[in-house]
Amino acid sequence: MATTKATPKPKINLLGFEQGEYKGAPSTLCPGCGHDSISSRIVSVCFELGVQPYQVAKFSGIGCSSKTPAYFLGRSHGFNSVHGRMPSVATGAIVTNRNLVGLAVSGDGDTGSIGMGQFKHLVRRNVPMVYIVENNGVYGLTKGQFSATADIGQKLKYAGLNELPPIDLCAEAIIGGATFVARSFAGDPRQVEALLKAALSHRGLAILDIISPCVTFNNHEDSTKSYAYGKEHEERLHDMTFIRAQEEITVDYEEGEAIPVKMHDGSTIVLKKLETDYDPTNRVAALSRLDAARENQEFITGLIYVKQDNNRTIHDLLHMDEQPLSHLSAEQLRPTKEALDSVLADLY
């Protein structure tokens, strides 16, 4: 995997913030939980990119994963809402204040079961934000039931054998019209960071389905959502390098070996092909690759699908004014007395 050179991290970022200012409260999840690793990635990526923490709004539903927004970006507002229905809360907030940087964390139960409807409609509305699913195939807080993303043939101490087919959230997102869909593995921090950076640069909704092992209930050797399984079976579609708008592209690659994807904010992700001919800008190819992965039980990761042109976000779809609704003055909110008189004139 090609990355920018491992220089020591600067103490303060572009905005003058220290990395510590991107941290949250101490985690109360089980030691070793994949979710904590993802929280750390969020902290370092937001620090590195110089994301303005006061402009970030964190959202989550209910479940272990949904607790995590308390554990990163303590200087950002957060809303831990109800089970499976965070997408609607996020939609209302992001529509209200289009300047907010939305960062949502959900889980496989939260998104794939109770929240499936809202997830699909969030995708359909293209609400601009990053939506991370911390996917471990199991309900942790209720002590180990299967979730809808558990693979067929999986076994759990509490729940026994899973005979139901899994829901592939990436495929669901692509079918629903998502324009940035990635899958990664909490045990692959560099890829998670590269994808997070790209997601934050995307115009529109960016979905990251990150396999994030549950060390307590679903990390046994024959689990397909365990660290061991992930480390052994992860098949990266490409090596990713994220290059910020103001940086020069220094990654070496031969013509045809890599795909540079120009993001809306001017940054670029260079996807160096590991799997020949995989083109993440081809929607149908992305779906068939996911289907093949399901068929052969392959654990593919990377930027599965991305579309940068003509992404109409919900703000575009509602033809909204640039000024956020939350910033309107009383005069802008309440029409004049003359306006009321004119409406009433038609009612006499």
């Binding site: 308390a70 204040n97 509602l318």
Partner: protein, 611 residues
Amino acid sequence: MAVVDYQTEQQPAEIAREDVNINDFAIIVATPNGSGSQTANNTILRACFNMGIPVTGKNLFPSNIKGLPTWYSIRLSKDGYQARRHKRDVLVAMNPASFGDDLQSLEPGGICLYPDDSRQELSRSDVTYFPMPVKELVKNSGVDASLRDYIANMVYVGVLAHLLGIEVAEIESALNKHFKGKQKAIASNMNVVNAAVAWAAANITTQSPFRVERMDKTKGMIMLDGNAAGALGSVFGGVSFVAWYPITPSTSLVDALNDYLPELRINKETNKPTYAVVQAEDELAAIGMIIGAGWAGARSMTATSGPGLSLMAEFTGLAYFTEVPCVVWDVMRMGPSTGMPTRTGQTDLISAYFLSHGDTQHVCLLPSSIKECFEFGWRSFDLAERLQTIVFVLSDLDLGMNQWISEPFEYPTEPMDRGKVLDADALTAVGDWGRYRDVDGDGIPYRTLPGTNHPKAAYFTRGSGHNQDAKYTERSDEWVANLDRLARKFETARTIVPTPITVNEENATIGILSYGSNDPAIIEALDRLREANINAAYQRVRALPFTKEVGEFVAKYERIYVVDNNYNGQMAQLLRMEYPELAGRIIAVASCDGLPLTARWVTESVQKGEA
């Protein structure tokens, strides 16, 4: 039955003026649903209104697109009563399917208009019949065949105009308003009206015992439905974010928002909307969105009805407990379950008041007129933001979907109250703050909006246990302290919600307490009761929680008749719970038949109690 035969049977007769009912009768128009009678009925209503006659129109319609029976009742009341009238005097029987029942419902001495090709048995001899050549008149009008069914209703408009004396010029003016000046539509409808008037003048010689005459009682008044009034009030309350899911009878409230907002809330420089209306995938999402919007600083609302309200229960608890302002209009209909979706009732009083699991209770506003729909439209946002909570406005189908006359709405009398919000400068000034601290002793904390450019602005909003600094807690003392503060906040709410209106206290021996759209029936019943030597004071409650005036009223009279348009007497139940020591004097007078209450029923119910 041929028209000519009919006329030879009934000799024209002059009715003495003292036997003519002028401006005090009820018309019922029976049509199959989807036959386009709304234009005709609104035209009659508006024409009478234009003639200065107090008038109300009520649409009694089925949950159906096309075919099932529907009725439109128009009450003319020279005394200005606006309640549904039990008696029906003039029947326009356009629907063969309901003809028999409709005819039976007429008062003795009533009149019945019907299409002359109808093969119905004219079974009553105490009714005067007026067959109308509907098909012939429509055919002769030359209107396009595809529009014939719709325009056929204009025949009864014309015949009624002749029989009752509705001025044709006012009919034209009403159509002009209805079609917003579109000449072609007005002309084709007027064509049929004029033909029907001419036919009636030439062929009907029997006089109607019911007549309209010009008055001056609607001068300066407006006519509108409650949903549109609520929408307009919300716009003048600064609503910026609306999320909703279609459900009868609340849909037209959002339709009206979609009419008014583009007119009133466009940024003139960019020509773009300064609002958002999102049709959600369900009510769960609709309320989730308005909570997100309220949290982020928008004045946000949704409109729904009973089944939608049930779906909103969990999120309502979240809004209550995280203290996010937002407004929910519940335009109530009949329950339980799907119930009768197109029939009215005050069915959600208790469920809205206590909506959600855990110990929740909510501010509910109870408008009784279109004027109050407008007022509570803007005031609900001030209350929601002042109290940082979810506020319900409980209207109902009768108020929301029917046409009412009213004095014009008053422009909001108070500046907008955005509540306790700390911006970056305020945060610097206060130095230290906590999201759920009770700084002022009124239980209402301070909040910040996401995106506030200040290192101390952020806090974490959660439906789980939190302490006064919005940190997660499972400590009993912190939990109890938070609930205590919420209870204090509810007591503050009690002091700032709209107070009740109390009338007729002089010489009163009993009390009547009610709310919402029952008002017109009770106002009329008070007069009837007085005629029967019963003097009742009347208090109309306008909000939950009860303000101190409610307790005082209940304590004042030995018997309090509490009038509800639901089966269980939900307001009576709330009063008994709130004032257990006075529970014995509370008499529930409840009706739940899908119809607006009548003065007759209220009067008789009270008389029965007083006998």
